[in-house]
C-alpha cells in the first residue's frame, strides 16, 4: 500500500478511489514484468536442456548465432529442412511456461476485480490516475495518466481475458521452439502496450501504446526471421502502419493547434468549439481514420494483414484478430465526441468499412491457405465494426469487436490446432507438403473432433446464425445502419454529393451481401478442412490427432464465450419474444461514454417498428443460412486434389485467388517508383550530389580555396613580410592620427 500512495496521484473524490480500481497501474505492469523476466531468460538461449545429445557446452553468448541453425519453421512447410527433427527445448522453457501465462491470468483477475468494483458504484465521470507530467512544454501539458471508464473497461476485459487464453494456448503450441522465452517476452510486451493503448487518458499516451503494439506485431510476424519471407512480412506490416500513424500524429497536432488539449476529458468538453460539421473537424477525423485504416487493416492499408499470417498462429489470433487490429475501432469509439461532429467523416468511415467488408470477403472466397481465409475474414469483419462506429452506433461497433475477438480467436486457435496436427503428420513421413493448404487437409473431423465442433460453432457465429454471438453483433450493426438510413443527421448529410440516406442504404445492402459471402467462405473452409475424404496421405493420417490440453482448453473456453457472447447485448426485439435475459446490457453500460455522441449522430432517427426489426433479423438469418446451404450444395470437397496436383485457377477465379493483384499493383505504382526515385534522385542526386558533393565536399573545397589564396601570401621572403609590417604600422598610425 505504500507503493500505492507513491505511485498514484488521484482525484480522491471519485467514487472508485479507495477501491481495487486504484490498482489499475498494476494492469500493464504485470505483463511488463513478464516481458522483463522472459526477455532476460531469452538472452540465455544458447544452453539447451539436459539430455540433449547436441548440447553445446560453451557457446558464444549470442542469441542469433545460437538459434540460427536450430530454428524450426513450423509455419512454413515450404521452407523446412531437417530442422523438423531438431526439437530444441529452451533451457528455461519451464520457467517461461509459468511466468508467461501467469502474469496475464493475474492481470485478468485484477481486471475482473476492477470490473466488479465499477458495477458497484454510480460512475458518471471517468476515473483518472495521473502518474507524472510527461511533456510540460509551453501550453502543452501531457501527463502520463490512465483513464478507467466503461469503454476502457470493456477493452481491458477483452484484452486481458483473450490474451490469457492465448498465452495458455501458446504454451502448448510453442513449447519446443528454441526461441520460446523470446516469444513470450514479445507476447507479454504486446499486452503491456495494448493496455497502455486502452488505458491512456490522452492521445499521446495512447499513441505510445499504439506504436508499441505495432512494434510487437513486427517482432512477432518476423519471429522466425531466418526465413526472409517472414522478415519481409514484418517489415511490410511496420511500414504500412507508419503511413497510418502519420495520420494519427497529424490529427493530434491539429487537435492541439486548435483546441489546445489532448486528454479525452478535455476534448469531450471542448470538441464543440471546433464547429459542428466544420471542415476542420472533418479533416481531424479523416486523419485519425487514416491511422485506423493502418492499424485495423482497412482499405487502402489492409495489405499488411494477410502477410502478417507469417507469424506463429497464436500471434495471429491475439494480435491480428482479437486485439491489436481492433485498436482502430476503439480509437474511433474513444474519439466519438469528434467523429459525431462530422457526419461526412463518419460516413466516410462507414463507406470504407463496408467496401472493405465486401472486398475482403470476395478474396476470402478463393484462398487455399487456411490462415489466409481467416485473415481476409478478419479484414472483412473489421469492416463491419467500422460500419458500426461510422454510422455512430459506437456500442454496436464495440459489441462486434468483443464477439469477434471471441470467435475469431477461436477460429485462429482452432486452425493452429489443425496446422499443429498436419505438421505432426508430415513430420512422421518427412514430407514437405504445405501444412496450411486446405487442399492437403480434408476429413480432419475424425482426427480432431473437439476442434471440429468448436470451429463449427465459431463458423456459425461469424456467419450470423442465432443464438451465437456473431449473429447479435452483426445484426445490430446492420439494423443500426438501416434505422439511420430512414432519417437522421447522417441521412441528412451529403457525402461526395450523394445523399446520406442513399449511402446508408447502399452500406446496408453491401453489408448483407458481405454477410452472404462470409457464410460461404467460412463454410467452404470448414468443408475443405474437416469434411470429405482425407487428402493428407495414409501414413500421415495415422499421426493426426487432437492437440495437448493446454491448447484445447483455451479453445473450449473461447467456444463457450462464442456461444454466450451475444448475451452481452440482446436486442429488445428478441427479449420481447423469448425471455432470454436483460436486453441491451452493453448499450446501458457504455451509455456514459458514447451516449451523447451516438445521440448527436442519430438525432432525428425515427423509431423503427418492431415488425421491421424482426424482418431485418429474419433477412439476416435467411442470408446466413442461404450462404451455408449454397456452400454445402455447390462445393464438392470430394473433387479436391492435393495442392501438388491442383491445376491453377483461370479467368476471374485467378484474379480473386491472386487477391485482385493489389499487392502487384501497389508494387508497380508505389513501391517500384519509390525505389527508383530513391535510387536515381534521392540517392544519386540528393544524397551523393547535393549533400555529399555540394554541402560536405563543397564546404571543404571552399575552405581549401581560401587557404590557397592565403598561402600565396606566405612567400617565405622576409622582405615582403617587412613590407606588410610597415604598411600595417603606417595604416594603424594613420588611422589613429586621423581619427
Amino acid at each position: 500500500m505504500l507503493l500505492q500512495s507513491v505511485v498514484a496521484v488521484t482525484s480522491d473524490t471519485h467514487p472508485l478511489s479507495g477501491t481495487i480500481a486504484a490498482w489499475i497501474w498494476l494492469l500493464p505492469v504485470l505483463p511488463l514484468a513478464g516481458f522483463v523476466i522472459n526477455g532476460l531468460l531469452s538472452l540465455n538461449s544458447v544452453h539447451f536442456g539436459p539430455g540433449d545429445p547436441n548440447t553445446p557446452d560453451h557457446h558464444p553468448h549470442s542469441e542469433g548465432a545460437a538459434e540460427a541453425p536450430e530454428r524450426s519453421h513450423r509455419e512454413d512447410a515450404g521452407a523446412v529442412g531437417d530442422d523438423h527433427h531438431a526439437v530444441r527445448r529452451h533451457r528455461w522453457a519451464g520457467v517461461t511456461s509459468v511466468v508467461g501465462p501467469a502474469v496475464l491470468i493475474l492481470a485478468f483477475l485484477l481486471a475482473l476485480g476492477i470490473w466488479r468494483a465499477m458495477t458497484g458504484v454510480q460512475m458518471d465521470a471517468p476515473y483518472i490516475q495521473t502518474y507524472f507530467s510527461w511533456m510540460p512544454v509551453g501550453d502543452l501539458h501531457v501527463n502520463v495518466a490512465f483513464q478507467l471508464d466503461q469503454l476502457s473497461m470493456v477493452m481491458i476485459l477483452v484484452v486481458t481475458g483473450v490474451s490469457a487464453l492465448i498465452h495458455i494456448y501458446s504454451v502448448g503450441y510453442m513449447q519446443d521452439d528454441p526461441g520460446y522465452p523470446r516469444y513470450f517476452a514479445y507476447l507479454n510486451l504486446f499486452v503491456f502496450f495494448m493496455l497502455m493503448l486502452v488505458l491512456g487518458a490522452n492521445y499521446p499516451v495512447m499513441f505510445v501504446g499504439w506504436e508499441g503494439v505495432g512494434l510487437c506485431s513486427y517482432l512477432l510476424i518476423g519471429f522466425w526471421f531466418n526465413d526472409k519471407a517472414n522478415a519481409d512480412a514484418g517489415k511490410k506490416a511496420f511500414i504500412v502502419n507508419r503511413i497510418g500513424d502519420f495520420g494519427f500524429l497529424v490529427a493530434m497536432f491539429m487537435l492541439f493547434a486548435n483546441i489546445g488539449v489532448l486528454d479525452f476529458v478535455g476534448i469531450n468538453a471542448k470538441a464543440v468549439e471546433l464547429g459542428v460539421g466544420s471542415g476542420l473537424v472533418t479533416a481531424i477525423c479523416l486523419f485519425m481514420f487514416l491511422g485506423c485504416t493502418g492499424k485495423s487493416a482497412q482499405i487502402p492499408l489492409y495489405i499488411w494483414l494477410p502477410d502478417a499470417m507469417a507469424g506463429p498462429t497464436p500471434v495471429s489470433a491475439l494480435i491480428h484478430a482479437a486485439t491489436m487490429v481492433t485498436a482502430g475501432v476503439y480509437l474511433i469509439a474513444r474519439s466519438a465526441a469528434l467523429f459525431s461532429l462530422s457526419p461526412v467523416a463518419s460516413l466516410t468511415v462507414a463507406v470504407v468499412g463496408a467496401v472493405t467488408a465486401i472486398f475482403a470477403a470476395t478474396i476470402g472466397l478463393k484462398q487455399w491457405d487456411i490462415k489466409k481465409v481467416l485473415a481476409y475474414s478478419t479484414i472483412s469483419q473489421l469492416g463491419y465494426m467500422f460500419v458500426g462506429v461510422g454510422v455512430g452506433a459506437y456500442v454496436s461497433g464495440m459489441f462486434h469487436l468483443v464477439t469477434h475477438s471471441f470467435f475469431k480467436a477461436l477460429l485462429f486457435l482452432g486452425s493452429g490446432s489443425v496446422i499443429h496436427a498436419m505438421h505432426r503428420g508430415y513430420h512422421a513421413t518427412h514430407s514437405h507438403e504445405d501444412a496450411q493448404d486446405m487442399r492437403n487437409m480434408g476429413g480432419l473431423r475424425k482426427y480432431l473432433p473437439v476442434t471440429w465442433v468448436l470451429m463449427w460453432i465459431a463458423t456459425l457465429a461469424i456467419s450470423g446464425i442465432p443464438p451465437f454471438a456473431g449473429f447479435f453483433s452483426k445484426d445490430e450493426i446492420l439494423g443500426q445502419v438501416f434505422a439511420r438510413a430512414q432519417g437522421s443527421n447522417l441521412a441528412a448529410a451529403s457525402w461526395l454529393g450523394m445523399p446520406g440516406s442513399a449511402v446508408l442504404y447502399a452500406i446496408y445492402a453491401i453489408g448483407l451481401i458481405a454477410a452472404l459471402m462470409t457464410a460461404i467462405y467460412m463454410t467452404r473452409m470448414m468443408l475443405y478442412t474437416f469434411h470429405g475424404p482425407n487428402r493428407t496421405g495414409v501414413v500421415e493420417a495415422g499421426h493426426l490427432g487432437e492437440a495437448p490440453w493446454t491448447m484445447t482448453a483455451p479453445v473450449v473456453v473461447l467456444g463457450i464465450l462464442t456461444v454466450a457472447g451475444g448475451w452481452l447485448n440482446l436486442p429488445r426485439v428478441i427479449t420481447g419474444i423469448v425471455p432470454l435475459g436483460r436486453a441491451e446490457v452493453l448499450d446501458h453500460w457504455l451509455e456514459p461514454t458514447v451516449g451523447s455522441a451516438t445521440a448527436r449522430l442519430s438525432e432525428g432517427a425515427r423509431e423503427v417498428p418492431a415488425s421491421t426489426e424482426q424482418l431485418i433479423m429474419a433477412l439476416a438469418i435467411l442470408i446466413a443460412v442461404a450462404g451455408i446451404a449454397f456452400a454445402i450444395v455447390r462445393l464438392k470437397s470430394a473433387q479436391l486434389v492435393p495442392k501438388r496436383d491442383a491445376l491453377p485457377e483461370e479467368g476471374f477465379e485467378k484474379i480473386v485467388a491472386n487477391k485482385y493483384y493489389v499487392d502487384e499493383a501497389i508494387d508497380r505504382t508505389v513501391v517500384d517508383p519509390t525505389y527508383r526515385i530513391s535510387k536515381s534522385f534521392l540517392w544519386r542526386f540528393v544524397d551523393a550530389g547535393v549533400i555529399d558533393g555540394l554541402l560536405v565536399n563543397g564546404s571543404a573545397a571552399l575552405a581549401r580555396g581560401f587557404g590557397w589564396i592565403g598561402s600565396r601570401l606566405q612567400t617565405g621572403n622576409v622582405g615582403i613580410y617587412a613590407w606588410f609590417l610597415v604598411f600595417g604600422v603606417v595604416a594603424l598610425l594613420g588611422a589613429f592620427t586621423l581619427r
Binding site: G710, S711, R712, Q714, G716, N717, G719, A722, V726
Partner: protein, 97 residues
C-alpha cells in the same frame, strides 16, 4: 631645438626602414635595424632634455638589449650563411606556403 632633433631622428628612422625594405643583403638589413634603434635612442635623448633623465635610462637599456640582439642576429646570419652559402634574402625562402 626639440623639433629639429625629432626631424633628424625621424629621418634616420625612415632611412633605416627603407634600408630594411629595399636591401636584399641580410648584413645591410641588420645594420639598418641598428640604425632604427639608434634613431629611437636619439629620440629618447631629445625628449629627456625636456622631461628629465628617465629617457636616458631607457637609452642605456635599449643599447644593452640591442647589443644582445646584435650578437644573436649575427649568429643567426652566420648560421644561415654556413648552411646556404648566401646572405641574400631572395634565396632564403624556406617558409614559403
Amino acid at each position: 631645438m626639440l623639433a629639429e632633433s625629432l626631424a633628424l631622428t625621424a629621418a634616420l628612422f625612415i632611412i633605416g626602414v627603407m634600408g630594411v625594405l629595399i636591401h636584399r643583403n641580410v648584413i645591410i638589413i641588420f645594420m639598418c635595424v641598428e640604425l632604427m634603434l639608434t634613431a629611437v635612442n636619439l629620440t629618447f635623448v631629445a625628449f629627456s632634455r625636456q622631461y628629465g633623465p628617465a629617457g636616458q635610462v631607457f637609452v642605456i637599456f635599449v643599447m644593452t638589449v640591442s647589443a644582445a640582439e646584435a650578437a644573436v642576429g649575427l649568429a643567426i646570419i652566420i648560421a644561415i650563411y654556413r648552411h646556404r652559402q648566401t646572405v641574400n634574402l631572395k634565396d632564403i625562402n624556406l617558409l614559403r606556403g
